[in-house]
Symmetry: C2
Subunit: 383 residues, 2 copies
């Protein structure tokens, strides 16, 4: 099929349905893309990628999306609704994903012919999914992770991309950045960063898949740096939320964000000597930090926590404000704290440590800017 | 006089009055500090410094502040009010500057015994003030500039610190950072960066003078980098204001701020090869950029400009919103544009160039994120 370089359009409508075999188009060298995950960000990723596979001759049009099947209130199955309406009625209502996005409730079926796999599930499900995928994919499949977070194991922190890479024995890049899914869905201008380990050509193929005129993607050779930016910024967002809740003003908030960025950089470089300073100037660094500290639910719930002077726990606020979903920043702060404690680095990272100690009630929210406390964030100027 | 290391207090009250000679305390090695300027930021600087000179034995208690004399609506002179109430009734009402701050309407008298001089006037007055000061100060006086902006001369841009340094033949550091004067006046936690050229010892003396438990000052050997941060961030704030006025959301705003930070870095390094990347992680860099793009009048008026789709000029909006004061970002954008144009760099700095072209009505505000325009900001990803 000839690509449609200018105006996206579907020429093979109705050709694909879930559970059937894939498109009949003969094109042995074309790459097939599967997205594992279909939440808010996964749906936006599907929309971005689906607009590009239509235009690029090196990809099959069809983008398969593994959907954790749910029955909607009206009794319909989520996959059926997506395949009928081209919208994710539950997680991205009102946005057309593209007719070439095919929702598939069967994980193994969804990945079996894929050449490129996008991981975009909640991070606690990755390990289980990888176990289910072992031996079920093509041996040369390439992966990319859009998942923020890390697994803390007794032997140290394990980044999600490494988990995927090791469990499945495949190449895994990451894509992070200032990406509020709903804003990208509305095609508002934004950016993202792809981190890759060694193979620039693979990274460039991922750039082709994600890049659009309104979503500018840059690749840098620093997979850990990019991934840690995406993970650690949520801890800083908790700190920014505390500052907002304390009513401290923009100066203080900017100072805390800067100290947070510095601890992100220092922590990443201590964990992985390959991490580059320049990564923190990319979208995944300073821009994502800004977005997350301006909006975002980590900031918002932390603001409420500080306004209540820590008297209502995060568990309680999450139940009330997030319908029981958990904040990534709070759990990442705990995981980071474990690493700092285990390695004897607590005093080097007063902001990270203080965020956690506030979140568990050991310190009051005001400790985030308490310059009389010896353990307060100011010490981080020694980093 | 013994310093009061813990609790600031005045032990020589009434000893100094303007126009008289300075304090009679015998202390030939103590440094005397004079502040040139008494606006909002100058008054806060006086408060910070005055709290430190009381505590530090190496400084005279008294901080002299040159005040451009004004007659207040009730007929009183501003200097008299400051000396009587210890408050700057016009520019920082309600904040005690310290009893050891002495307002002086006579510029020459204010500086004649000074060992350390702080420049904090509007930048268009610096050249005239320097002319008046030539030959009127001690030969070994040290200066620091808190002034944001630059002079564009036919031979190229001239930073304010260099102007002071060259015109008066003296060492001149700079202090920049995320400094909203009113928030620092209320002793909310914030930070600042001092840039110095070579002499670390002088920079450390300035750090002693400005640093307080709530105002953390760090010195870096990069005077041009620090100063250009303080200058160029106002151009980015105009861009951020356009984004706000267009209702583009946090993603886009964060992306524009990041692209702006990158152009700040690239422009500074092209002008001065000595500029360090790390400076942009300091308070003067990323933190000041954040503060300025969140609040601040450059952002605010630019937002109004974009909301009116450029149909009301900056001149008109400034007259209405700022009582005729001019926005630094608009004039700096024009000056930067002149440099870019003169050196053939316009295409390398699409964000800076676009900010100016929008401000003069040559492009619509939407051009700031217009990804179909060949000259739009996205090209800066090539930097």
């Amino acid at each position: 099929m000839a690509p449609a370089p200018e105006a996206p359009g579907i020429s093979h409508e109705g050709e694909t349905t879930p559970h059937n075999n894939f498109s009949n188009v003969e094109a042995t060298n074309k790459s097939r893309v599967t997205i594992i995950g279909s939440g808010n960000w996964g749906s936006v990723a599907a929309k971005l990628i689906a607009s590009n596979t239509l235009k690029l001759s090196s990809f099959h049009d069809e983008v398969r999306m593994w959907v954790y099947e749910e029955t909607l209130p009206d009794g319909e199955k989520l996959t059926d609704v997506i395949n009928k309406t081209n919208e994710n009625a539950k997680y991205l209502l009102g946005i057309k994903l593209g007719k070439n996005v095919v929702a598939d409730p069967d994980l193994e079926n969804a990945v079996k012919e894929a050449n490129m796999v996008v991981f975009v599930t909640p991070h606690q499900f990755v390990e289980g999914i990888c176990k289910r995928l072992t031996g079920k994919m093509k041996s040369d499949v390439k992966a990319i992770s859009l998942i923020k977070g890390m697994e803390v194991k007794p032997e140290g922190p394990c980044m999600i991309s490494r988990l995927i890479s090791q469990q499945l024995g495949i190449n895994c890049c990451v894509l992070m950045g200032a990406n509020i899914a709903n804003e990208i869905a509305m095609e508002k201008f934004s950016e993202a960063t792809i981190g890759y380990r060694e193979n620039r050509a693979i990274a460039e193929k991922w750039v082709q898949l994600f890049n659009t005129p309104y979503f500018i993607v840059t690749a840098v050779q620093d997979v850990e740096g990019v991934e840690l930016c995406g993970t650690l910024k949520n801890v800083v967002a908790i700190a920014a939320g505390y500052v907002d809740g304390l009513g401290m003003g923009n100066n203080t908030k900017a100072a805390i964000m800067r100290l947070g960025l510095r601890e992100m950089k220092a922590f990443s470089k201590l964990l992985f000597s390959s991490v580059e300073d320049s990564t923190f100037f990319e979208s995944c660094g300073v821009a994502d930090l800004i977005t997350t500290c301006l909006g975002g639910r980590n900031r918002k719930v932390a603001e409420a926590f500080a306004k209540n002077r820590g008297k209502r726990s995060f568990d309680e606020l999450e139940a009330e404000m997030l319908q029981g979903q958990k904040l990534q920043g709070v759990s990442t702060a705990r995981e980071v704290y474990e690493v700092l404690n285990h390695r004897g680095w607590l005093e080097l990272f007063p902001l990270f440590a203080t965020v956690h100690e506030i979140s568990i009630g050991r310190l009051p929210p005001s400790a985030i800017v308490n310059y009389n406390e010896p353990k307060a964030v100011l010490i981080s100027s020694k980093l």
